[in-house]
């Protein structure tokens, strides 16, 4: 059973990313995540929001992003959805970099790669005509001690 605990709407303005990071950080601080893990999740959620602003809305600042934070069983579940242009699935597939070579780094794909590296499960669903939705799940350490 999923419990959606926090839900906010954000205008697609990169100026607001800082506020999103503060909110996500304060939500995570109540869970038993290590400081390092918390930093990573804040980064990955920021990357998801930034991708939506840049790619779904093409840099327009009048779109809306909806971010929900919640828990399901032993996972933290974070969902980001927008009503912008559907992003081609190929752009959102997990593509590992072959080697750390700056010549092969395509900056655009770096954010997506970070999201996959941070979360245990990432599920991108581009809409048919409009919008995108990404669900990011992270196993919460609380459940480890409960066994």
């Amino acid at each position: 059973m999923e419990t959606e605990e926090v839900s906010i709407e954000i205008r697609s303005d990169p100026r607001l990313l800082r506020s999103v990071r503060s909110l996500v950080r304060s939500y995570l601080e109540d869970l038993k995540l290590s400081g390092d893990r918390c930093d990573e999740v804040v980064l990955a959620v920021d990357e998801a929001c930034a991708n939506s602003m840049r790619h779904s809305y093409g840099g327009r600042d009048d779109g809306t992003l909806r971010l929900t934070l919640g828990q399901q069983d032993d996972h933290v579940v974070i969902v980001l959805s927008d009503q912008g242009e559907p992003i081609p699935a190929a752009c959102l597939a997990r593509k590992e970099l072959a080697a750390p070579d700056p010549d092969t780094v395509a900056p655009g794909g770096l954010g997506v790669l970070l999201i996959y590296r941070v979360f245990d499960e990432v599920d991108y669903v581009p809409g048919d005509a409009q919008g995108n939705r990404v669900t990011m799940r992270l196993r919460c350490p609380q459940s480890d001690s409960a066994t």
């Binding site: 602003m53 750390p100 941070v118």
Partner: protein, 106 residues
């Protein structure tokens, strides 16, 4: 809060000292400073002091990569000075920490 960027020449190095949070909103400012500094060629080392950076996302990393590539083209050395913990974290997650020359101090 805007990014704070201070540029100076010290001991033959062109130093760009960055303070604040580097994200999609602020990284164009850093990019501007880096792409202007590298081709100046008054110094053969461009050093980015990242010790006071409280946050960096992939757009910041992309800016660093762009600076590195541009430096290679112009035969200028490109160094990251004392990257803060958040900077090291994102470089390590991107597995790009090893492509940069990282030094403790200028």
């Amino acid at each position: 809060m805007a990014l704070q960027i201070e540029e100076s020449e010290r001991d033959g190095q062109y130093v760009i000292a960055v303070a604040g949070e580097v994200d999609l909103y602020t990284s164009p400012e850093l990019r501007n400073a880096v792409i202007k500094a590298v081709p100046k060629r008054v110094c053969n080392v461009v050093a980015l002091d990242l010790s006071q950076v409280g946050y960096m996302d992939s757009s910041g990393v992309a800016t660093l990569v762009e600076g590195l590539k541009l430096s290679h083209q112009k035969n200028v050395a490109f160094q990251l000075v004392a990257p803060s913990k958040p900077v090291m974290k994102v470089l390590q997650l991107a597995r790009l920490d090893s492509v940069f020359k990282i030094v403790d101090r200028i």
